[in-house]
């Protein structure tokens, strides 16, 4: 391989400005929605005293999980010393930071008291996994920032040990971060849908898939923008293989989680709810998460591209990535909202009812402001990436990659 050179995005197409403008508009609408929700209170959302985390959390957790996965490519190049991935390591790093920032902003703006962010940043209960996560998030941004510096600084980048050392740290940290995110749910002893150690590896598997899907889509968009072949055919094949493996891993952990739960009689109720009787949640689990998010991407990647097949390699990767991300949102919806909708079991074996709607499957209908805020998280991430690649050389030059 020739020496890798990097570029800033200089010539901009109408598409680039159009995308940037669209994301800016969505961010503005999202901020407006957040103000509306804070001004009137959460009564204008679909959230209630049973489903306390709604669409903003679906998007926020999805973005945070994707963020750690977006660092995959950088980790593979530094930690596992695969030079073929090195041209994309910088983009992988900035995308990881951008996705995390997008998710965190949504999370903060959905707080009941977002004005107390300084309290959240200065007053800690260290027994709380939420408090640990604040450190994990801030640490991730800082470590990946240093990681990028070691890759991009003319002097430091000449010392591979520095990049490799920080790369290892970032890799370990991203695993801890997703473990922490999964454990936010895994530590909830009273919620039958969550209370399991497998939530952490399940989220890690999900992060690999969604992070890679985001990386692939950003890279393809940049190929179009720079009119350069940023990824050679060999690289596309590698990404294709990785995506299939990650998707199988996610399906595997999903299957283990539900099979384990199904084995215990006490969890038959919640499993029946998610897998069979839960209406929208059952549909999103089977059609959204399993079929659209995993089976179809695997099928398209494995059998859909190549000679005499419906799609080119790039088309197959693009479609599979979009489907994986759509499935990811469905997975988060089922996990977060489905898990809350199933009623708490105050008296095992008995039925309960009250004016507080005990014993009932909680109703939840996402409101427009919630969705706007959530989508704005994705747009914030894309805006950060868009501005970053214009300001600093995060993108490889096509000729240096494919040469």
């Amino acid at each position: 391989m020739a020496r890798i050179t990097f570029q800033r995005l200089e010539d901009h197409s109408t598409l680039f400005w159009g995308l940037l403008g669209l994301h800016a508009l969505i961010v503005a609408l999202g901020l407006g929605a957040a103000y509306y929700m804070e001004h009137h209170g959460h009564v204008v959302t679909g959230m209630n005293n049973a489903v306390v985390w709604g669409m903003p959390h679906v998007f926020a957790v999805f973005l945070i999980v994707s963020a750690s996965g977006a660092l995959n490519v950088a980790s593979i190049s530094s930690v596992f010393n695969k030079l073929a991935y090195k041209p994309f390591a910088r983009l992988s790093g900035i995308l990881a930071i951008a996705l995390l920032v997008g998710g965190l902003i949504v999370l903060v703006l959905d707080l009941g008291r977002p004005d107390r962010l300084t309290v959240a940043m200065t007053t800690y209960n260290f027994k709380s996994i939420f408090a640990w996560n604040i450190y994990l998030y801030i640490g991730f941004i800082a470590i990946v920032g240093v990681y990028l510096f070691t890759m991009m600084d003319r002097g430091v980048s000449q010392t591979p040990t520095a990049t490799r050392t920080v790369g290892w740290l970032a890799f370990g940290w991203r695993l801890a971060l997703t473990t922490g995110t999964g454990s936010i749910f895994g530590f909830l002893v009273a919620r039958e849908a969550f209370d399991s150690a497998i939530m952490a590896p399940l989220f890690i598997a999900a992060s690999f898939l969604y992070g890679l899907a985001f990386t692939v889509l950003v890279l393809f968009t940049m190929c179009r923008e720079t009119r350069q072949m940023l990824m050679g055919e060999e690289m596309i094949q590698s990404f294709r293989g990785l995506m299939i493996v990650f998707s199988f891993a996610l399906l595997y952990f999903t299957a283990v989680k539900h099979l384990t739960s199904l084995y215990a009689s006490e969890h038959h109720g919640v499993e029946a709810f998610i897998l069979r009787d839960g209406g929208i949640y059952t549909a999103l689990f089977w059609i959204g998460h399993v079929l659209v998010g995993n089976i179809l991407p695997i099928a398209i990647l494995a059998f859909g591209s190549g000679e005499a097949r419906p799609f080119s390699e790039r088309q197959a990767m693009t479609i599979a990535s979009v489907l994986a991300l759509m499935g990811g949102l469905a997975f988060m919806y089922v996990t977060i909202i489905g898990g809350q909708a199933y009623p708490l079991n105050l008296f095992p074996g008995m039925e309960t009812s009250s004016s507080f709607l005990d014993g009932e499957v909680a109703r939840y209908a996402p409101s427009l402001p919630e969705v706007m805020l959530g989508v704005a998280g994705i747009s914030i991430a894309m805006l950060v990436v868009g501005i970053a690649i214009k300001v600093l050389p995060f993108l490889p030059r096509g000729e240096s990659v494919t040469a």
């Binding site: 977002p114 309290v119 007053t123 105050l346 004016s355």
Partner: protein, 286 residues
């Protein structure tokens, strides 16, 4: 730091007006009569005696009365400048044999005392206490019970709260410090009893002793303002007033207290005791 200060103060938050005050124990009065033709010396002595009697009656009697009340009440009035003591563990015992299914006086009393009310939106309205109907799936038999924060010794809500806004006082009462609650609702996710409510909309006409706020989480405080003044929670008082006396409040750590005796003598149940949260609310005849 703020949380610790609050815990020591026993209030719901620094600067809150929920810090409790001892109620006036009553006003003593002294009566005097004039005796005509009395010796001037006798007049002086009588004046002194009257003045001394009036003084002692006015100053000492309320204190004596307050102490007498304190001895008869399950909770001991705690001076506002003294920290809460872990010598006490306040709790409730609810005898379901005496709790009629149609009665909700405890709920009404809590609502009146603490200023929360139902606005016809059961999904978002706050409920600090509710009557729960439990039905056996197999034989259809049912019973009802009051359900509120169980004031666990190992409360999951306190464990998960990122800022420490959810906290447990040394005497076992679980509260939310409204000054550092960021409204993340993680405590609501963690509570096994659905005991907490999020304030979904702006509030008006709050009670000074029970400050609440849009965007914060809240739950039963065991009427901490009353407890600190040596009183009992409003629900317990209302239950007794209705003639049921199904609810007992007291110090579980005091073997001489009625609640401790009842817990030691009769078979009692705690809801979801299997989770190991060590709730402070016991149910008898469940």
């Amino acid at each position: 730091m703020i949380a610790k200060a609050d815990e020591a103060n026993g209030g719901c938050g620094a600067g809150c007006s929920c810090a409790t005050r001892a109620s006036d124990a009553g006003e003593a009065t002294a009566t005097t009569r004039t005796v005509e033709g009395a010796d001037p010396v006798d007049v002086g002595r009588r004046w002194f005696m009257k003045a001394a009697t009036a003084f002692s009656t006015t100053v000492i009697a309320p204190g004596v009365t307050l102490m007498a009340f304190a001895e008869s009440d399950p909770a001991i009035a705690r001076p506002a400048d003294q920290p809460v003591s872990s010598k006490h563990r306040f709790g409730l015992l609810i005898d379901l044999a005496k709790c009629p299914s149609g009665c909700s006086d405890c709920v009404t009393a809590c609502s009146t005392e603490n200023g929360w009310k139902l606005n016809g939106r059961p999904e978002t309205d706050a409920q600090w206490i509710r009557k729960l109907t439990v039905t056996n799936r197999k034989d259809g038999s049912s019973f009802s019970l009051p359900m509120m924060c169980q004031h666990c010794a190992d409360p999951p809500c306190v464990d998960v709260c990122p800022t420490g806004a959810s906290f447990k006082r040394a005497d076992g009462i679980v509260l939310v410090d409204k000054h550092i609650c960021i409204g993340c609702r993680y405590c609501m996710m963690a509570c096994p009893y659905k005991a907490r409510s999020f304030i979904h909309e702006p509030l008006e006409d709050q009670k000074p002793h029970a400050p609440r706020g849009k965007g914060c989480v809240e739950s039963c405080t065991m009427c901490v303002h009353r407890v600190d003044a040596g009183g009992t929670p409003a629900c317990v008082e209302a239950c007794a007033k209705a003639g049921h006396s199904a609810m007992i409040f007291g110090d579980l750590n005091d073997p001489a207290s009625e609640i401790a005796k009842r817990v030691a003598t009769y078979r009692t149940t705690r809801i979801r005791d299997d989770l190991g949260t060590d709730p402070g609310v016991y149910y008898q005849n469940l």
